[in-house]
């Protein structure tokens, strides 16, 4: 006996979706975003535009953390370490050759002569961060839960220590200032678009489904023929590459990089963004990152006026507690709001 329900739902399962429509819709959204960015560059002052660029980069970083932590269920705090690596690699490449000789005496000759353009420098920064994450991931991804968190926290400290003490290559604690300001808000916007598109593609592919399956139930995932160790390293490394790129962009936006620029506090803030948005939700990560950045920046004048420094951190912490109290799985859980999914063409009901 074959009930009707089964045959119709089988058809529904294999029915192809319409990718063209969602592709055009996404393109329209990206163009609209570009118009907004253009308006900002025309109307806002330079400080505000830089702030918006930072906001976009933060949103992209939160999305990249959603890939490596949210989808896979890993609890890595290592993002600032990979950002630092990416930033220093890119900074050493783009630094004016005339100043390299005196400031960075230990550079090999071929590196000292190079004054790379931004794009290859950023890509190399991301690439090196990715390579480091492969090596580190192979070792630490055997750990679970807070053990992994502590190990990746340690990674931040190790990287900071290396950078601080490797004077000849990194100029130690005083950092590299006067980096060429190659990055403007358009770079930040492009980075956000690429990161979101990539994260979306991963999430709604069989690869993303497999990564989420590992998060849900590792035993069952392996019994379904999924190599869970490889997928965890992959998710971790994709996040690390994107973090490396983000670090490189930030450094060239604010034109300075020091060992402390990307600190444990940043790791905490990024995790808060992912948690508030909902682990695994791309929309949530973008909105939470934008919200938190706006909130803490708009509170800055209040802090100064009222002489209440640290107020913004208190407010962010209170927001975190409030969200966790009212919506324990974050604003959007691990899914996307249906309107966003309709526009960009996600599948499934989750």
């Amino acid at each position: 006996m074959i009930p009707d329900a089964s045959s119709t739902s089988v058809e529904a399962w294999s029915r192809p979706r319409a990718p063209q429509w969602s592709f055009i819709a996404s393109l329209v959204i990206v163009c609209l975003g570009a118009v907004v960015v253009f308006t900002m560059t025309q109307w806002l002052d330079r400080y505000a535009v830089t702030l918006c660029a930072l906001l976009l980069i933060n949103a992209a970083l939160a999305v990249s953390l959603t890939v490596s932590n949210g989808l896979s269920g890993l609890f890595s705090l290592g993002h600032p370490a990979f950002m630092t690596i990416g930033a220093y690699v890119a900074a050493i490449l783009t630094f004016p050759a005339t100043r390299k000789g005196t400031m960075l005496p230990d550079l090999p000759e071929w590196l000292a002569a190079i004054e790379a353009p931004m794009l290859p420098a950023v890509l190399l920064g991301g690439g090196v961060a990715g390579l480091v994450s492969l090596v580190v991931g192979y070792a630490v991804l055997r750990l679970k839960g807070h053990y992994l968190a502590v190990a990746t926290l340690g990674l931040i400290i190790v990287v900071q220590g290396l950078v601080r003490n490797w004077d000849g290559l990194t100029r130690g604690g005083s950092g590299l200032s006067g980096l060429p300001r190659h990055v403007d808000i358009w770079w930040a916007y492009g980075y956000l678009v690429i990161v979101v598109a990539l994260a979306w593609r991963i999430k709604y592919s069989s690869l993303g489904r497999a990564i989420m399956a590992v998060r849900e139930n590792e035993l069952a995932a392996e019994c379904s023929g999924i190599n869970s160790a490889r997928l965890k390293i992959l998710a971790f490394s994709v996040g690390a590459v994107l973090a490396g790129v983000g670090g490189a962009l930030t450094a060239h936006l604010i034109s300075v990089i020091t060992p402390g620029t990307f600190s444990i506090v940043l790791a905490f803030n990024l995790v808060v963004m992912v948690v508030i948005g909902g682990a695994g939700s791309i929309t949530g990560a973008v909105l939470a990152a934008a919200g938190i950045t706006l909130l803490s920046e708009s509170l800055r004048p209040v802090e100064e006026a009222a002489n209440l420094y640290g107020l913004s951190q208190v407010v962010v912490a209170v927001c975190l507690i409030a969200v966790l109290y009212m919506r324990p799985s974050g604003l959007f859980g691990s899914g996307e709001p249906s309107i966003v999914k309709r526009i960009f063409g996600g599948r499934g009901q989750a």
Binding site: A5, S6, V10, R209, A210, C223, N227
Partner: protein, 240 residues
């Protein structure tokens, strides 16, 4: 189809599987019965490549291939057609029923075959079609077991390892599950079944093995073992 020789498995320092040897022939249902902690689940985990033995061999021979289960990675073992349906159902709770079934077909490349098998699974378990868009975690225990079985079937098993499919289920549901297991044998799937419900397992099995503290102490046809005094005393609750 499956040939296990002198298998020794350790978990940490504990010697869990001691010199275990047995065969499963194609088209059969083989039952592995025994008390808690006898090493039944560890045996299955080893066969599906999730645990590695310290010594011994385990070879899986579907068709003309030969897969060394002691060294092949688990995803390769799955692709060769040895599918492990682990203890406790292990479904993906926050995924939909449909997504759970799709995960079973993760290693499958032939989309036509996948939709054909999906239709077969939904015919076998109509409830899964009804609930296809619902969260798997909201299913009842029996429905979850059906989902776990359905997911395993979507992986195109040639040899299906079932770890306690009756665990925590109502008697009527257990009967339904066992009917399906018998039906699978008719369709040509070889099955290695672990059960605490020895009576039902022996009733169904072509061959059976009794495991005690890591060793196989008895083997024979299901019917023979069901009559064996020692088995009756220890596992069937009958008088000697």
């Amino acid at each position: 189809m499956l040939e296990v020789r002198e298998l020794n498995v350790f978990r940490g320092a504990t010697h869990v599987i001691k010199n275990v040897s047995f065969n499963v022939e194609e088209g059969q249902i083989a039952a592995l019965i025994g008390a808690n902690g006898a090493g039944k689940s560890t045996t299955l985990l080893t066969l599906s490549g999730l645990l590695r033995p310290r010594s011994g061999t385990a070879v899986f021979r579907p068709d003309a291939q030969e897969v060394d289960l002691t060294s092949a990675p688990s995803e390769k073992i799955v692709r060769a057609g040895l599918i492990h349906c682990p203890e406790g159902r292990q479904i993906f709770h926050s995924m939909t029923v449909r997504e759970n079934l799709e995960m079973g077909a993760y290693a499958q490349l032939d989309q036509k075959l996948v939709s054909k098998t999906t239709a077969e699974v939904l015919e076998l378990f109509p409830i899964l079609a009804e609930r296809s868009g619902g969260m798997a975690g909201s299913l009842s225990g029996g429905e979850q077991m059906m989902l776990a079985l359905g997911r395993a079937l979507l992986a195109q098993p040639k040899l299906l390892l079932l770890d306690e499919p009756s665990l925590g289920l109502a008697p009527l549901v257990i009967e339904r599950i066992f009917d399906v297991i018998a039906e699978l044998r008719r369709r040509g799937v070889t099955i290695l079944l672990i059960e605490q419900n020895a009576a039902m397992a022996l009733d169904l099995a072509d061959t059976a093995f009794v495991m005690e503290t890591g060793s196989i102490v008895l083997s024979g046809s299901g019917a023979d073992l069901a009559l064996n005094d020692k088995v009756r005393q220890s596992y069937l609750g009958g008088a000697a």
